[in-house]
């Protein structure tokens, strides 16, 4: 930044000394002024609430009553709270179940859509985005009904081949699967298009050369497409990690009964839902804030892990 700014000054006619100093300050400050709106808004709506959350987490905070300072008691309670660990495992389980198949599916679809001889390519590519632009609530309600025990489409189909109805929402794996399917459904198109954009940036000549050398479709995919896609794969893993750790709407909406716990035994209660239940269901703002801090730490940890992975990937290219 400094170099680009100083270059025109050096090239232009030198102004009077005082003006130059003044301009120098102005010019040096200008870029900060340009980016200031974002940071100001971020400070007001991001940083302040974040810091305030850390503060509230140190209190027994009744929103309409007393605020009693209790130090780190909320955190020690949290570490002993089986509901917290349950929510943490649920979150990670749902995240894995939704991310891994989603990225693989997107990879395969992007490869197909990238095929040179594909007809109606634009139509197929655009239709990928339809689930993405559908409201989450609508998706959640429709899928919850499809997986319903008594009147669900899926169990009706299973019934045709003589399988007893499965109560997806009541079981741990069933409810995780249901949520993972919703998340996958919503995001696979978006991820596919990201991969597709990257694939189209790979020169055709590479594939042609590989074909001349006798490499088949799979070998081309494995040795040309995948290595070229690495940066975007890392990017999608990072974003889906951050998103996956904050899954909220889907578990909240699949069950109208005991919605805040996602069922009778918290079988699919995620961390954000646990936060919501404690903070806004039970009005324990302090404890809710402590959960928020724990989630923050968890996301930072995962992001750091992703960063390490991505920096290790880069040199290989």
């Amino acid at each position: 930044m400094t170099t680009t700014l100083s270059t025109p000054r050096a090239a232009g006619a030198p102004p009077a000394a005082t003006t130059r100093v003044r301009q120098g300050i102005g010019e040096r400050l200008a870029p900060y002024a340009y980016i200031a709106p974002f940071f100001l808004i971020f400070a007001v709506f991001g940083l302040v609430p974040l810091l305030f959350t850390f503060y509230v987490a140190l209190f027994d905070w009744n929103p309409i009553g007393e605020h009693i300072f209790i130090g780190l008691d909320n955190f020690t309670r949290l570490l002993d709270d089986a509901r917290f660990w349950n929510a943490a495992w649920n979150t990670i389980s749902i995240w894995l179940l939704s991310t891994v198949p989603q990225l693989l599916l997107a990879l395969g679809l992007a490869h197909l859509l990238n095929h040179a001889r594909l007809r109606f390519a634009v139509f197929f590519r655009m239709s990928m985005l339809v689930p993405y632009i559908t409201s989450v609530a609508a998706t959640a309600i429709v899928f919850a009904q499809m997986f319903d025990r008594d009147y669900g489409l899926l169990n009706w189909l299973l019934g045709l081949v003589g399988v007893e109805p499965i109560d997806f929402k009541q079981s741990v794996w069933g409810s995780h699967l249901l949520i993972a399917v919703m998340v996958t459904w919503r995001w696979f198109g978006y991820t596919t298009l990201l991969y597709l954009a990257s694939l189209q940036a790979i020169p055709r000549s590479l594939y042609e050369a590989a074909a001349v050398d006798g490499a088949g479709g799979w070998k081309q995919f494995r040795h040309i497409s995948i290595p070229s896609l690495r940066p975007v794969i890392v990017f999608t893993i990072v974003t889906s990690t951050i998103g996956g750790l904050q899954i909220f709407t889907e578990p909240l909406l699949i069950s109208r009964v005991a919605a805040q716990t996602c069922g009778a035994v918290r079988q699919c209660q995620t961390l954000t839902l646990f936060l919501y239940e404690q903070g806004f269901g039970q009005f324990q703002f302090g404890y809710g804030a402590a959960i928020g801090v724990a989630l923050f730490v968890l996301i930072i940890a995962f992001a750091a892990l992703n960063y390490v992975l991505s920096t290790r990937v880069r040199p290989e290219r």
């Binding site: 309670r77 008594d150 109208r256 009964v257 805040q260 009778a264 035994v265 039970q282």
Partner: protein, 426 residues
């Protein structure tokens, strides 16, 4: 939560009705409406509150009611909490009974309604109902709009198929106790191969636990959920119901429960008064196939709501006017007559011919006024505490878990106690 949604619907309906009936209210003198004639009112969705508010405005020209249907009863209580914590508060708000203790514990957020004359009318309401909105210091922060009472709704056509009596008196005699209720269920299921009752958690546990003098708190406010015999008995009854294999495993207020109601998936459902209008909406095609009998154990109450005025309300007097005009004994009675679903909280009208003569056509002409009044007269009130809702939910969850085939019946009680201890810390 399910109860809250349903109850809120009931309450809202009750409010609407009472508002409609305001002209008939004569129990108390209306206070002068003071500065503002308009006020803001937060209520629940799905209870057609707008209609009652419109009627109130028609009958009280010049009064402007700005009604906001915030959401279900839970959402409304959440929004109220947020508003009290530092936002714009309404002048009048409807609070469902389960949500009430948290607000009663923090009375500084509300107007003590005694300043408007609530102490003069508090004798109009059932002692144990208004005591729930009265603080230890005697401040009254809410006026009750309705109570649920208790009864059992059953399908006469399905009972006939199963060879059971269909007359409501005889049906009531089938189950003087919950054990007899379970035995009846076994007979029904043996004869028809179908489920008898919708679920064990709500239709058995939540009723039985409300029938007795000491629930989750003792009279001095100590938590006794783990030692109160009433709680353990109710819990064991629910588990017994599950093990008898007579439940449809449909959690109350779930989609499957609503659908099953119209399809005859179960023949019996525990129905407080506020559930009646909801059943009518859920299963309109079953009109005339239902009837109502007495609850096992005879008496009890489930549900009810309150109207409160937040401290920072701009027009508390206009709100109070609305309360006195829509919640007087005569107004509550008229509201019940109109809705058929909002049992008055004012015992002075319990002998009124308008109430005793009330029949509900959807339920084969059952005398709902008499049935629900009877369920309230033998009632033994218990203390409701700040964590009652959480404790009740954990017990329900433990039973539901066994019912859905995931939990171990023998360990369910201990699991519920452990979960409650985690949740409330005592």
């Amino acid at each position: 939560m399910k109860f809250r949604i349903a109850t809120s619907a009931l309450l809202a309906t009750a409010l609407a009705l009472s508002a409609a009936a305001c002209g008939g209210g004569g129990g108390t003198a209306a206070q002068p409406s003071g500065d503002g004639k308009s006020f803001e009112f937060w209520s629940f969705t799905g209870i057609n509150q707008k209609e009652s508010v419109d009627k109130y405005q028609k009958q009280n020209p010049g009064v402007q009611v700005k009604l906001t249907e915030v959401g279900g009863s839970t959402e409304t209580a959440q929004a109220l909490t947020t508003a009290l914590a530092g936002g714009k508060v309404p002048d009048l708000v409807l609070i469902q009974g389960d949500d009430l203790p948290k607000f009663v514990q923090q009375p500084q957020n509300f107007h003590d309604l005694r300043q408007f004359g609530a102490d003069k009318i508090k004798g109009d309401y059932l002692d144990w109902v208004i005591s729930q909105s009265t603080t230890k210091g005697g401040e009254i922060i809410g006026i009750p709009t309705d109570v649920g009472g208790m009864a059992v709704a059953y399908r006469t056509d399905l009972f006939k198929e199963a060879g059971l009596p269909t007359d409501r008196e005889e049906v009531g005699k089938l189950w003087p106790t919950w054990d007899a209720f379970i035995e009846t269920g076994k007979k029904y299921t043996a004869a028809t191969g179908k489920a008898f009752v919708d679920n064990a958690a709500t239709s058995v546990f939540y009723q039985a636990v409300n029938q007795g003098p000491m629930k989750y708190y003792d009279p001095s406010g100590n938590v006794v959920y783990s030692t109160s015999p009433q709680v353990k008995t109710a819990f064991d009854l629910a588990i017994k119901t599950v093990q008898a294999g007579i439940t449809a495993k449909q959690s109350s207020f779930s989609d499957g429960w609503s659908a099953g109601m119209g399809k005859g998936q179960y023949a019996v459902i525990s129905a407080p008064a506020w559930l009646l209008s909801q059943m009518e909406r859920n299963a309109p095609d079953t009109k005339g196939k239902w009837d109502i009998a007495a609850i096992p154990g005879g008496a009890g109450n489930w549900g009810g709501s309150y109207l409160a005025i937040p401290k920072r309300a701009k027009n508390p007097k206009a709100a109070w006017d609305y309360i006195t005009k829509t919640q007087s004994p005569q107004a509550q009675l008229q509201h019940f007559v109109d809705t058929g679903s909002t049992m008055p909280t004012t015992p002075s009208v319990y002998k009124d011919p308008k109430l005793t003569g009330l029949k509900n056509e959807f339920f084969s002409g059952a005398p709902t006024g008499v049935i629900y009044t009877n369920s309230l007269t033998g009632l033994k009130p218990f203390l409701v505490g700040p964590d009652s809702a959480v404790i009740g939910q954990e017990f329900l969850n433990a039973i539901t878990n066994v019912e859905q085939g995931k939990g171990d019946a023998a360990k369910a009680w201990d699991a519920a106690l452990a979960n409650i201890k985690t949740a409330i810390g005592k």
